[in-house]
């Protein structure tokens, strides 16, 4: 199929077509600077405050899927084939307010008003995707939006009240969206290139041809390379439109997750199989980041404080790596070599993540510590998989984030525990071994001493959880109040 240089998306019912776009121009810059559409705000330019929140809609399996994303770190070419909604879209030029907007007015949900358009868009995404959210679901929907004025209570009230007004007509234009072309994108601008292939063979070919290219999945990290580090990216290959990378299958032994599957979708399937992981995934970034970001990106990027990998590693996950020469499979625990260095060879990319299904009697758990519950990067993140044969530990794996230059297993702790009775003495031995496994660093998130002590105490928490002596986490406890 021939590649096109036309980016097409829908805005206010119109099919917008762009050519010769700077491939790293952000959606926020495009809205504010090119269109002078200034309702959407910049608060941080790193996807952490939510003032820039917009909603994108795309057709998936014959259904419109609406999701809030951070426009400040999303590159314009990734809009291709989607409908973009901003705060201005909701009230059609201020004629009449959408129920979400009216509820914010009625409940005094704005004070300075700067964060408000972002909140409105997160609420709108909630409105369209959840007809009766619980308080926890409201909190989660708003986890990526910071407000410094109101103390949030009136915004939560608006989230409850917004369903009371008559439902207005839908804001989407699927017939216009259907007119966007399905070809690959190939854009060149000022000597820099952006490719968005639609097949895995095409992707493999591009990776072989441009082995130094930046692979762009959700852009929740790469976006910051541009907005914060001012890096110039010569060649970008976007994985988001490759059909084969969107597979999400639960088979007899494994969950197979394509590398371009969003964190939101991957986690839903993951939590289905491993309900104990719900809290850690709730605490993983925010909905706009999980909507844009991919599990594949989290794994391949390989940050030592990535929150998915401890659980994946403890579960025994393997990765399918692909290149023009074929594919190979590698254990996640062998994938990371050193700080931000992994086993990918030039021209190779991550195709699939294969997570074993839980066996009978297998316990998998993961714990995260940070200064704030939501949208905070881990000081420490731990995960464990335990199998017992009677009282004896037949198999134990533990992986930690925030404790070393990569996410990695706690091999000495595993050795101290495996084969032993699952009791207090073994716990004590496991705790002591953790101190040999890791020599963490001190930084703005935590001191080395806290990291080690907390990791040991989290092992104790896991012990208590698996011996029936646990008390809830403070978050679960608070929810009952």
């Amino acid at each position: 199929m021939a590649a096109s240089d036309r980016i097409q998306f829908v805005l206010d019912g119109n099919l917008v077509e762009l050519t010769d776009v700077d491939p790293t121009r952000t959606v926020l810059q495009y809205l504010r600077e090119d269109l002078r559409r200034t309702g959407t705000k910049e608060g941080c330019a790193e996807g952490d405050c939510g003032a820039c929140t917009v909603v994108v809609a795309e057709q998936r399996n014959g259904k419109a899927e609406l999701r809030a994303i951070n426009s400040c770190i999303q590159f314009v070419p990734t809009l291709h084939g989607k409908e973009l909604l901003t705060v201005e879209s909701l009230c059609r030029g201020g004629e009449s307010l959408h129920p979400v907007q009216q509820a914010m007015v009625d409940n005094h949900g704005s004070q300075c008003g700067f964060c408000t358009p972002g909140f409105v868009m997160s609420l709108y995404a909630l409105y369209e995707t959840n007809p009766a959210p619980t308080r926890r679901e409201i909190d989660d929907a708003l986890a990526g939006n910071l407000c410094r004025c109101t103390g949030y209570r009136p915004i939560v009230a608006a989230a409850r009240a917004m369903y009371q007004a008559p439902r207005p007509d839908g804001l989407l234009h699927p017939e216009t969206l259907a007119k966007t072309h399905g070809e690959s994108l190939a854009i060149e601008h000022d000597g820099r290139r952006f490719f968005a292939p639609v097949s895995i063979a095409e992707l493999a070919g591009l990776c072989a041809r441009y082995p130094d290219a930046t692979l762009l999945a959700g852009g929740t990290d790469v976006g910051l390379w541009v907005t914060k580090q001012h890096r110039v990216l010569d060649t970008i290959i976007h994985t988001g439109r490759v059909a084969e990378l969107h597979t999400l299958e639960t088979g007899a032994t494994h969950i197979d997750i394509g590398a371009a599957v969003s964190l939101t979708d991957a986690m839903a399937v993951f939590v289905d199989q491993y309900p104990q992981l719900e809290e850690i995934f709730l605490r993983f970034a925010s909905p706009p980041i999980r909507n844009a970001g991919t599990l594949g990106g989290n794994v391949a990027n390989g940050s030592p404080i990535g929150d998915s990998m401890p659980a994946l590693m403890a579960a025994g996950t393997t990765l399918v790596l692909r290149s023009a020469d074929g594919s190979r499979e590698i254990g996640l625990d062998d994938f990371y070599h050193d700080y931000m260095q992994n086993d990918l060879r030039p021209g190779e990319f991550l195709e699939r993540i294969r997570v074993p299904l839980p066996g009978a009697g297998t316990v998998l758990a993961s714990h995260k510590l940070s200064k704030r519950f939501d949208q905070d990067i881990s000081a420490v993140c731990t995960a464990y998989r335990l199998e017992l044969d009677g009282d004896t530990v037949s198999s134990f794996r533990m992986a930690c984030g925030g404790m070393a230059a990569t996410i990695r297993r706690a091999r000495q702790c595993e050795q101290a525990v495996t084969g032993q009775p699952w009791n207090q003495a073994t716990l004590t031995a496991g705790r002591a071994a953790l101190a040999k496994d890791f020599t963490p660093i001190s930084d703005m998130r935590a001191t080395a001493a806290y990291r080690l002590r907390a990791a040991q105490n989290l092992l104790t928490r896991f012990y208590l959880e698996t011996t029936g002596a646990s008390e809830e986490t403070v978050y679960a406890y608070g929810r009952q109040g």
Binding site: A51, F114, D140, G151, L458
Partner: protein, 743 residues
């Protein structure tokens, strides 16, 4: 109450906010000749600047001009009170992140990229990076102050019990969602129009005029609204406006400087962090007999507003308690870090944190309920009612308020229930605390005029409500305009919770002049007595006749009646001798109290606010919806200050928490699970404020001291009742306190 005053009306801009049509400075139409400015920052905490090579900057794509200190046409100063802070560092860089040069380019992106290309030759000098090091080296931005009443040393010496402690108390970034921004547009004949996100347009006008070597008449500053400020745009906005203005004058083109969030957090001042030492003597009942405080605050490189901030710390280290024998030492430490500034509470919170810690220590030493010890030390109504700065408290309603909240929140029974819970649980532990707030309003006699700025607090709607009622018209007849120095000159900052008090009264005075003129005209025109004329509901009753308001205005126009007026208000009664720290610095006090309950995980130090009850005094509220918003928002902001918001510097003096990825303000899920907030009813201000309301901007922030002490309550055990909990009480700080406590 009549008309619209006192009604819970929405914010005047609410519809604009939710539809994205409220214009902030960066949303304004850009002049065709606009350039974008970026700043180059110091890499060193303290270094002599041997040379600045900007060749690569000037050669970068899109760059039009650069500017260093020597290029500034006027004064290279942005210090608001003391002229001690350079706009651009000239010879010496005084902190990591200080602006050294500016660059203007055709796009924001190009300006920011170019700003990274400078070659600056530094000669590193020794840096002072924390308050205690500054005290040791006697490095101060302003002289050390002391305040004394009675003989604290003798009282402590004689007291049956004593406690002493050193506290560390973190600072706080304002984290307004809209970062600093200014756009300067050259006007004819040397004039300059500056759009600035500022709480203090008047100061921006004057500092910009000085910086560009013109006089104040040549500069106009306008601010319609800010996307939050919280004190962070009181003095700090001037630096940004000055840089934009200097570049506009240099290039002859419009120039906009919008700081990137990271630069904003690195370059602009925050709430002062403190080291506090105290020693207190007390009796068997927990009554304080004598207390000695040492405050050392990180002021940074210049005085900025640190003088009045630290004065307020000294004024508020009594909070609600009568201190018969007290000695206070206040060091204003000069450090090689960003110059700290105003932040909601303005030094008051730090003083109140100190005395609340003292009270908590006393109660725990004696094994008493801290709420009882608090009550034992409250100011009296007729005796024990003079502050350590010799102001007699005439409006004390605290004890009644405290009692009501204690009952409403079921404090005693819950405290017992929590103790039972803690006895049964190994991992989770709960805590509860009840703390009061007494906060002085109307400090300083220089608030003279109206011209307030809107930062989200609802000042404009409150002022519009006053105007509507005074003129007898409905709210839709009132239009609210931007703060503009060419319309309202010499206004003071919108700060110190003073916005409604001052601007409400000034608008009332202006409206009464207009109404008086209209009344006089109508009486003359229709030959009725002035007493027979009334304004209400857009209708003017003139004897038997009724006229639409605009009809009367039309008739008055033909009669050449002046129908504009200015109003003027100056806070009465306040006087104060700075040399002896005595007098009446405050017109009145705002009161409140809160009960907070937490649950703590003793394995990790994580915690959660499970229930909060608040009772707060807003006088007769001008707008209960706006006031409730201030109480709730202030409380959560205060809770953030004392829990998750941690500012960190590395050993090179660089701020390492300069973005929301690393600096964590509360989110939605941090709200108390069960949150009950009430405004005190039938609480008319005994002083003659606008409709007997009370200022509400700052006092609620300190309600969050209850969160901190609830955490300490959860950590404390009978075995070791005085855990050493630092603020902010991050999970790590809580775990440290638990471990030091032997848990």
């Amino acid at each position: 109450m009549r008309g619209v005053v006192g009604r819970a009306l929405p914010h005047d801009s609410a519809v604009l906010h939710v539809s994205g049509t409220a214009a902030y400075t960066d949303d304004l139409p850009e002049p065709r000749d606009l350039l974008h400015v970026a700043v180059g920052l110091s890499d060193h905490a303290h270094a002599r600047i041997r040379g600045i090579d900007l060749d690569a900057v000037i050669g970068a794509e899109g760059v039009v001009a650069t500017c260093i200190a020597a290029d500034i046409p006027g004064d290279n100063n942005c210090g608001p009170i003391v002229a001690d802070e350079e706009i651009l560092a000239s010879d010496t860089a005084l902190y990591a992140g200080q602006a050294i040069f500016a660059v203007a380019a055709d796009t924001v992106d190009r300006a920011r990229r170019a700003a990274r290309l400078a070659e600056i030759d530094y000669e590193p000098l020794e840096a002072i990076l924390d308050p205690l090091a500054a005290v040791e080296k006697e490095s101060f931005v302003l002289p050390t102050e002391t305040m004394t009443r009675g003989d604290a040393a003798a009282a402590i010496e004689k007291a049956p019990h004593r406690v002493s402690r050193r506290l560390t108390l973190g600072g706080q970034d304002q984290f307004y969602l809209e970062g600093h921004i200014a756009m300067a547009i050259p006007q004819e004949d040397g004039g300059l129009l500056v759009y600035s996100s500022t709480q203090h347009p008047d100061e921006v006008q004057h500092l910009v005029a000085h910086a560009i070597g013109r006089s104040a008449k040549d500069v106009v500053c306008i601010c319609r609204r800010m996307g939050g400020a919280f004190g962070g745009k009181e003095s700090q906005a001037a630096t940004i406006a000055c840089i934009a203005a200097i570049m506009a004058v240099k290039t002859g083109r419009s120039c906009k400087l919008r700081l990137d969030r990271d630069d904003d957090m690195v370059m602009t001042g925050k709430r002062h962090d403190f080291v506090i030492e105290y020693e207190a003597g007390f009796d068997d009942h927990g009554r304080i007999l004598g207390v000695d405080f040492m405050f050392a605050s990180r002021c940074g490189i210049s005085a900025d507003l640190s003088g009045p901030v630290n004065d307020r710390t000294m004024f508020h280290c009594d909070n609600a308690y009568f201190l018969e024998n007290v000695h206070i030492t206040s060091h204003r430490c000069k450090t090689n870090t960003v110059s700290n500034t105003a932040f909601r509470g303005f030094g008051g919170p730090q003083g109140m944190h100190a005395i609340e810690y003292v009270i908590d220590d006393i109660a725990r030493t004696l094994g008493k309920d801290p709420a009882d010890v608090r009550r034992r030390n409250f100011y009296g109504k007729t005796t024990r009612n003079v502050t350590h700065y010799r102001q007699t408290i005439e409006d004390n309603i605290l004890e009644d308020l405290f009692d009501k909240l204690e009952a409403d929140a079921d404090y005693r029974a819950r405290r017992d229930e929590i103790r039972a819970f803690n006895a049964e649980h190994r991992v989770l532990r709960r805590g509860i605390a009840m703390t009061p707030v007494k906060f002085g309003i109307s400090f300083t006699a220089t608030h003279l005029n109206h011209g307030g700025t809107e930062m989200g607090q609802g000042l404009y709607i409150k002022v519009a409500q006053v105007a509507a009622d005074e003129l007898g018209v409905t709210l839709d007849r009132i239009r609210i305009n931007a703060a503009d120095t060419s319309k309202v000159p010499n206004a003071s900052a919108t700060a110190a919770s003073s916005g409604s008090d001052i601007n409400g009264k000034a608008v009332q005075a202006a409206c009464r002049k207009i109404r008086g003129r209209l009344t006089e005209f109508a009486a003359r025109h229709f030959s009725v007595s002035e007493a027979g004329i009334d304004f209400a509901g857009n209708v003017v009753s003139i004897g038997e006749r009724e006229l639409a308001f605009e009809e009367l205005v039309g008739l008055a126009w033909f009669d050449r009646v002046q129908m504009f007026a200015t109003g003027f208000y100056r806070t009465p009664k306040i006087h104060y001798d700075r040399d002896t720290f005595s007098g009446r610095p405050f017109f009145y006090y705002g009161y409140g109290a809160a009960v907070s309950e937490v649950v703590v995980d003793t394995l990790t130090g994580e915690y959660r606010l499970t229930r909060v009850d608040i009772l707060h005094d807003c006088g007769d509220s001008l707008n209960p919806a706006m006031d409730l918003g201030q109480v709730e928002g202030g409380f959560i902001q205060g809770a953030g200050w004392l829990t998750s918001e941690e500012l960190c510097w590395n050993d090179k003096g660089e701020l390492t928490t300069h973005a929301p990825s690393t600096y964590k303000i509360p989110t939605c899920s941090d709200l108390p699970v069960d949150w009950r907030v009430e405004l005190l009813e039938n609480a008319a201000n005994r002083e003659d404020t606008i409709y007997r309301s009370k200022a509400v901007g700052e006092p609620p922030l300190m309600l969050a001291l209850s969160v901190f002490h609830a955490l300490r309550d959860a950590i404390a055990t009978d075995a070791n009742p005085l855990p050493d909990l630092r603020a902010p009480a991050t999970p790590e700080a809580v775990l440290d306190a638990l471990v030091s406590n032997g848990s």
